[in-house]
Subunit: 343 residues, 2 copies
């Protein structure tokens, strides 16, 4: 089955992906930080059985992963692919993950909240992605008693999630706006509207490849639909700005930059993940500007999602030194670009 | 007819080219700086006729160029290809050049000396290159009366050329020695032995692409053969050092560097001459290390000899802005590497 990131969806020239996360807790248990190991085991087992039965009935083919049984590489690969949170990764005891074959549905059990439902889609695709999350939510809601307050909404361990328990985010690729130095202004603008924008890759303040996460911050006193619509409207505005900025760039210079990135990606024998993200960012822009033909956004998404340090090691089934990973990453990228060029 | 730089000769992995220059003056005239325009005209006409007759008789097919009739681009292209000196280029009045179709023989008339015979060859090929120069010298000597002193040897306008009038030089490609920071030490060593080494490309102290000219400085109290043998022995030593340093470089790192250079050269849409020289230097090393197959030193020499700023403009038959040249240079390099890759 095709992974979610290979699908074509609206605005995927700039909107890399859409993510919905619903935080849910059960009335029957205290919040995670106060649960006993026995309670966690019971919760894990109950939710697992419930999801497995639903998966069979609804033909969702959800797989089930016990985090404790993963190698460190397999575990961290799930973080790299944004399928689990770093906090979840670091506390594998009694932590379970239900995952669909296309990786568009990931349900974490015994995370910060009892249950976190996450759905993913390519492009700017909030409605459908929310629907997919709601479908899982409905299944669970039919059998479990959620911790829900008529006035406050869904109760969550951290008050910032109280209310809808919804976090919606869109990953935007903004190289032209970043080059124009307007990300700071956009950040101020969106924060006034209850949203936040931050870099996806890179350490500290350094944003790698100009990939940004735009997400909602307000969960209280707002409907799910309202939150989604707010995010959609602002994302659309930023996307339009990015498109305009790209068109304004000098043609020769842009073309050269894109082809150089292609040249290095298709020739280098050593590629760090940081450099790869920087170059693939330029490649993605080249596709959107019609400079590179025969490469789809889905294929670029796939390249990013299969060459993270841990994902490479998980694929090889062993720990590797950085230099060895860089060599393998370069080989994977080269082969993939070569096969695209062949088509 | 194939240009001289396409030929394969000994040590051409590191010795790009060998050049011989003989400075000659005629007894019948004062030195250039004291000649009248009429004398220069007469000298030019006499030597031209002599060379044209010899060319017919000996099937050398020498062409004849009057510098005054060239466009600035054509004129400076000859400097870029090291066929004439910058000083000669800047004083085109009554300046004549006899040039063989393979560009291995270039005779300047009315340069700093009355006649300067220059011969070129690829690789480390001093004996043959000197023989080619001597052949022209003999032809001229048979009909003209040289300014020659039994004790001093050939008389030249500048005392640094007095004696043999011979300047022999070898262009060496020394990226590994440069990276190891030992060029300074080599420079001190060779100067004690009557030689000098300096960068071929680049402005001021900046050496571009690690191409160096090693040449003799002593012309007095030494035989031509002695000068040549001295230069050959030291060049061979430096070549051996460079080879050893290349082998000592880390394989993965070197391979990556070479392939990246190839990737940029075969993809970029804008290439300044400086960047081109830097990258082609790495490419050349990649060929010598067996990393790049199917590319010969001759083809790399040809790339360098056909993409200089003035040479590109001379080829196009018009003056061009730097940006336009960079675009055309990138297109030429791309096409050439593509066709090599096809073979």
């Amino acid at each position: 089955m095709n992974k979610w990131y290979l699908e074509h969806n609206p605005d995927d020239d700039i909107a890399v992906s859409t993510r919905i996360r619903l935080a849910r807790n059960l009335r029957a248990y205290p919040f995670e930080n106060r649960m006993t190991p026995e309670q966690k085991k019971k919760l894990l087992s109950d939710v697992k059985t419930l999801l497995q039965n639903a998966s069979l009935k609804e033909k969702m083919e959800l797989g089930f992963i016990e985090l404790e049984k993963l190698t460190p590489e397999q575990n961290f690969s799930l973080v790299e692919k944004h399928l689990i949170s770093p906090a979840f990764s670091q506390n594998p005891k009694n932590a379970g993950l239900a995952l669909s074959p296309d990786e568009s549905i990931a349900v974490m059990i015994n995370e910060e909240d009892h249950i976190r439902i996450q759905t993913l889609s390519s492009g700017l695709n909030l409605k459908q992605t929310l629907q997919a999350a709601n479908r899982i939510d409905d299944i669970l809601d039919a059998s479990l008693l959620y911790a829900f307050d008529e006035k406050l909404g869904y109760l969550t361990q951290c008050p910032t999630n109280l209310g809808t328990g919804l976090r919606a985010s869109v990953m935007l690729h903004l190289p032209a706006l970043e080059a124009n130095g307007v990300i700071g202004r956009i950040s101020q603008m969106v924060s006034k509207l209850g949203l936040t924008i931050r870099g996806t890759y890179g350490e500290g303040t350094r944003v790698n490849g100009a990939f940004y996460q735009l997400s909602n911050q307000v969960t209280l006193g707002i409907s799910e639909e309202g939150a989604i619509e707010n995010l959609r409207a602002i994302a659309s505005q930023i996307i339009a700005q990015e498109r305009a900025s790209r068109s304004a760039e000098l043609g020769d210079y842009m073309e050269d930059k894109v082809w150089r990135a292609y040249g290095v990606l298709s020739s280098a024998r050593l590629l760090t993940n940081d450099e790869f993200i920087e170059l693939v960012s330029i490649l993605r822009m080249g596709v959107s500007q019609g400079i590179l033909k025969g490469i789809s956004y889905g294929e670029i998404n796939a390249l990013i999602n299969t060459t993270g340090p841990a994902t490479i090691m998980a694929q090889e089934g062993r720990a590797m030194e950085a230099g060895e990973r860089d060599k393998l990453r370069a080989a994977i990228v080269r082969e993939r670009l070569y096969s695209l060029n062949e088509n």
